[in-house]
């Protein structure tokens, strides 16, 4: 079977990256804001002070704007698996589809139901009842993210499935292994808590704006305090989980961790593994497979990545060399699989089983085989084909290296910002530090940026695989005309840019307005604007 046009593969990747990155502008804020709202409402229920109800409703309104647009942008991606990644869907659909289906149930049944109750239930539910609904909304949105990240965890480190040579696809062996895979766990906690950081800085930044403008100080001071504390604990947790993910990558995705660290040679190449420097700055060159302008800290890399003193981190060049025999085995596996498909003989099946674990590496060789047909690989041309294919196991090092560093530097900046913010808030000295308040305002978009670069690190570092070690990305796409892909890409870019413009307009508008009397759930006795999310008055038929 001929390979899919590389332009179509690139455009499919670009389209998925674009829609995922757009969607991910909204998701972290949703994940974090729900639990911040739950914290505010908890204080309201415990203390009975109306200011906390006002806080919950005001921040809930901003959350509502973000949630609505976030859901709209997320819908398309599930369909893209079918339209643009049909080979991928065929190959792993049995496994990958399950968490996606559960996510749909979580997002559209649990989360949406409770969000409706949260917004419209203030006058209909008891205080504890409404608080329970707010917690369930928070849980629902985070559980929705959990199933997406379980699915993504499978792409990074396929667990709970095996390849069936009869159906020619991966099938479940253990649902529990899929759900409790290390990658899924660490990814979920890292991403969810990165959302907490995003929500915290959003609340803190807008509260800082009010404090600077000397408006709504009662609400702003309390919101700032809660967000600063929420943020400092969350950032420390994000850093911890980032470290766990790094170690996991070292164990199961060695090409990714080497790309993240710009490690072309083994970590013990110069003196000892222990002395290997951790690079703060470098300019990796993918063509020459080397770095320039390196600035590093010696004796940090090995303990940081391996959690040991002397374990060697394999370099990308050495990993290329180690991939060569796996590619040769992969070619044998695919030959045997083809033979088994025709004859269903035990000998072919036995050969396939012998080399099954390297099957994905055989796919890598296909693009370099004569007529892209592995049956035409001969002992004479095999070495050249394997050599070319082995270079493909290396992801784009420049992109992976720098996207990781931008995310990480921002993470440590957040630790410092939240630490100062929490300290000055707890000691009631915020107004004496207007620079910190201004910094909080200007930092509002930065956690979203960090989340985006984190996502790029995870997905660019996974290349060339769509399912690590099993299915290369260039084999996973659908075959479409290039024109179709360009048209749909432009359509998505225009539509999603409109969504972002709408979100920014509404956010700025409602954040500048602040909490007002007419937004309270209690309708004015006579005249005045209709309250947002209010129960329609029974005597008033105008809404019918």
């Amino acid at each position: 079977m001929p390979l899919i046009d590389p332009s179509v593969v690139d455009l499919s990747r670009l389209q998925f990256a674009l829609t995922a990155l757009y969607h991910f502008l909204f998701v972290p804020l949703t994940l974090g804001m729900t639990f911040i709202l739950a914290a505010m409402e908890t204080v309201y229920v415990i203390t009975g002070k109306p200011i906390y109800k006002e806080m919950t409703q005001f921040w809930g309104k901003l959350f509502g704007i973000n949630f609505a647009i976030g859901v709209a942008t997320g819908l398309t991606m599930e369909f893209e698996f079918g339209t643009n990644w049909s080979m991928y869907s065929h190959f792993v659909g049995d496994v990958f589809g399950t968490p996606l289906a559960i996510e749909g149930l979580m997002a559209f049944f649990m989360e949406s139901t409770f969000i409706g109750l949260m917004f419209f239930g203030w006058d209909r539910l008891s205080k504890p009842g409404h608080l329970a609904v707010t917690y369930l909304t928070a849980l629902g949105s985070n559980l929705s993210a959990l199933w997406i990240l379980i699915a993504n965890g499978f792409m990074q480190n396929p667990k709970g499935a095996s390849f069936d040579p009869v159906t020619m696809r991966m099938q479940f062996t253990s649902f529990l292994h899929l759900v409790f895979s290390d990658d899924a766990q660490a990814k979920f906690v890292h991403t969810s808590i990165a959302g907490f950081v995003t929500g915290s800085l959003f609340v803190m930044g807008i509260s800082a704006f009010y404090i600077l403008k000397k408006r709504h100080k009662e609400l702003a001071a309390r919101s700032f305090r809660m967000a600063a504390i929420f943020g400092i604990i969350s950032t420390l947790a994000v850093v911890t989980l980032g470290d766990a993910l790094g170690r996991l990558d070292y164990l199961v995705q060695p090409t990714k961790i080497a790309a993240i660290e710009g490690l072309w040679q083994n970590s013990n190449a110069h003196s000892s593994a222990m002395a290997a420097p951790w690079l703060l700055f470098a300019l990796p060159n993918d063509a020459t497979q080397s770095n320039s302008a390196e600035i590093g800290i010696p004796y940090v890399l090995t303990p940081l990545v391996t959690h040991s003193e002397n374990k060697v981190i394999p370099g990308l060049i050495q990993q290329e060399q180690q991939a060569a025999p796996r590619i040769e085995n992969g070619i044998k596996a695919l030959d045997a699989l083809q033979q088994y498909g025709q004859d269903h003989d035990a000998a072919s099946l036995a050969t396939f089983k012998q080399y099954e674990q390297d099957m994905g590496y055989g796919f890598l060789a296909q693009r370099y085989a004569p007529d892209q047909n592995l049956a035409l690989v001969t002992p004479q041309n095999q070495q050249e084909i394997v050599q070319k294919a082995s270079r493909d196991i290396v992801p784009n090092v420049f992109v992976t290296f720098w996207s990781f560093r931008i995310m990480m530097f921002l993470g440590f900046y957040f630790v410092a910002l939240f630490a100062f913010a929490a300290y000055f808030s707890l000691t009631n000295r915020l107004e004496k530090h207007p620079f910190l308040l201004k910094l909080s305002v200007w930092s509002i978009p930065l956690p979203i940026l960090a989340c985006e670069f984190g996502w790029i690190t995870a997905e660019a570092g996974r290349q060339p695989w769509s399912v690590y070690g099993w299915l290369p990305t260039f084999q996973a796409a659908s075959s479409h005309p290039v024109g179709y892909m360009v048209f749909s890409l432009i359509g998505f870019a225009l539509l999603y840019s409109t969504f972002i413009a709408a979100e920014l307009y509404l956010m700025f508008k409602f954040a500048r307005l602040g909490p007002h009397e007419h937004d309270s759930h209690t309708a004015p006795a006579q005249g005045g604007a209709a309250p947002m999310f209010a129960k329609p008055g029974l005597a008033d038929k105008s809404w019918q």
Partner: protein
């Protein structure tokens, strides 16, 4: 009677929480950490707000 049902309800919640803790602790330590950590973050943040009210009441009403 309502107090009795309240206690039964709370006992069921505690039982479920313990079951969740055992399963998550055995099979998914990071999931368990998320459950405990998120609860902790929410409660400490709420405590910060209560502390603010106390500081305000005791005359340290500056922001």
């Amino acid at each position: 009677m309502s107090t009795f049902f309240k206690f039964v309800g709370l006992a069921l919640v505690i039982g479920f929480a313990l079951f969740l803790a055992v399963v998550a602790g055995d099979y998914g330590p990071w999931y368990f950490a998320w459950l405990v950590g998120t609860t902790m973050i929410v409660l400490i943040s709420a405590a910060g707000a209560v502390l603010f009210d106390t500081q305000e009441k005791s005359g340290k009403g500056d922001i």
